[in-house]
Symmetry: C4
Subunit: 191 residues, 4 copies
């Protein structure tokens, strides 16, 4: 099976998830700027999730550029990732509507953590399928960024019950780390 | 007519159906974990339907890899399948919201049964179009899995009025059977 | 400009319109079959619109298979068609919710009529762009089907204020006429 | 990185944004034409935004036809543009529901202004990446249309607090200017 149809389907799901979130921004009753104020935390959480989904789309793209064939394992790891990511509009809205309350931040963080783990599993499935001498194996390297992200997520999850705002800073930090496209794979593909 | 645009359109519909379901998970009022509890049956039914749509997307992909040309019959069988599948978010939400009540489970099962029959019709339309000596004919073989699934669905439909939870186990069982990508076609394409 | 990206974008819009309609089927309160009864007219109107959108997608596909280049006229005629079609979920829901009341049937018919006219304009823009000796010119022929459909729509619009159900039969009749893929173009592409 | 997957993803987002707006047209209670009357301002604002998104999709297409490679800068400028555009259904609905009240018109204009600026940044990122001797550099020329649009937007923003209807005429004027596909790039690609 080639990667092209899997990429097309995934792109569709990414595009829908990223735009569905805006539906959670319900149009307020009044027509003054002050009527928009209650939407600010929702807007900020939407912005953060948009960046995260942009990062996942980008990294997803990198992975499937480096691998050549798709087997059942890769296919289901990919669907698992899409499932977890499809929950982000829900957890984003819950956190935004409740002004970053402790348990809502924890759930959002859990969603991010599970997304990271599913992406890790997808990388593993690709590595296993393509073999040790493959492009993807060399490209991913020692995956420091992945381990570091998961570490920050775990810290943020513990923080969530005491200083939920600190957790959101943790989430933003991981976003910044990944914001720059993954040089590892890019460099390898160039060479 | 080539299969590429039909696949692109179908992929779009699959991607939308699979992500639209998450919209049915309405954000609850409170901000405690306990406020999420009423959503658990909805979440479970969403998970089951996600897996089913993943399976249909996967099998759909296999079919259109094996056939080369599309005629009117295949085209309308495909649209029929997409129509039946587009009802899944509705039947999923009805079943999930009503905690797997008898008649909601029956309707969900009916939706799965009709999906299976439409897929069967799509296979037939492809077989008829491609001829007896075609790849798809050899690939589909005796279609034991299809007959078995329909049999389980019929059993589950009868069960639905007495032991609805047993029916959902039936639905999950069929999902497990199909979870593994269809080796028949995969093997043939390799050889 | 090639037709490929225009087709991809149009396919996306078609896929979204066709699946968005199912969102109008709101999950009812109760958990008995009888609770679904009020949804029957909505379901029937959804089914009719699904078939119509399937037909438009199919004919759209045929047009863009026969033309080779896209200019500004074709591009904007295409966007005009997509705009009119994007209103179908709204007019479908209004008609379905109000049990095929006179004015709702009239508006639905108006939507179908405008869609047919926009498609006619798209055909004209393509004909003008491709020239008299083009594939598309020969393929479309005298466009009897198009004129006949518009005639039936006009009749149905008059009927709508007296016998709205007769109008819906008119709409269904046009759907049946177009249901069979357009042989004119298909034949030409084969030869 | 090639532009194809970026275009496919962007097309998906464009298609979803453009069709999601129709969801804001809520089906009214009654079944008479007069029940549709309150929807007219919403419909007009939807029409304007549909045209705007059509223009952005079209210009987006032109840009990515002229550039050959995508780097991190282009990628994130593109995501930034998609983010700003994804807010258009919200600002459109707010303006339409409140019958073009001053502050709602201002916010809508701000959304258009930010979209224009993000598109400008995307053009800059492309220019920087492709270099002075590139197709895109020659194609964009002195960008009079871009500067003029931003000027009109700024004027409209000031107007919004005094004569909001004049602002909407400003928005419509810019739409008309861009309605014709960008000849600059088209001409260059032909030569």
């Amino acid at each position: 099976m080639t990667t092209s149809r899997l990429e097309a389907f995934s792109d569709g799901v990414f595009a829908i998830i990223i735009t569905i979130m805006v539906l959670e921004l319900k149009v307020p009753e009044g027509h003054y700027f002050s009527d928009l104020q209650p939407l600010i935390p929702k807007f900020l959480s939407y912005l953060l999730s948009f960046i995260y989904l942009g990062i996942y789309w980008n990294n997803h793209h990198h992975i499937f550029q480096a691998i050549e064939k798709v087997n059942g394992g890769v296919l289901w790891a990919n669907l698992g990732l899409l499932f977890i990511l499809s929950l982000i509009p829900f957890t984003t809205a819950w956190m935004g509507e409740n002004h970053f309350e402790q348990e809502t931040v924890f759930l959002y963080g859990l969603n991010l953590l599970l997304s990271a783990l599913m992406f890790f599993i997808l990388e593993n499935a690709s590595l296993k399928h393509e073999g040790e001498s493959s492009k993807i194996h060399a490209a991913l390297g020692n995956r420091t960024k992945e381990y570091f992200s998961i570490f920050i997520y775990l810290l943020s999850e513990i923080c969530a019950f005491y200083y939920p705002l600190l957790s959101t800073i943790g989430f933003a930090l991981v976003a910044v780390i990944w914001f720059v496209p993954d040089k590892r794979i890019e460099n390898l593909l160039k060479s």
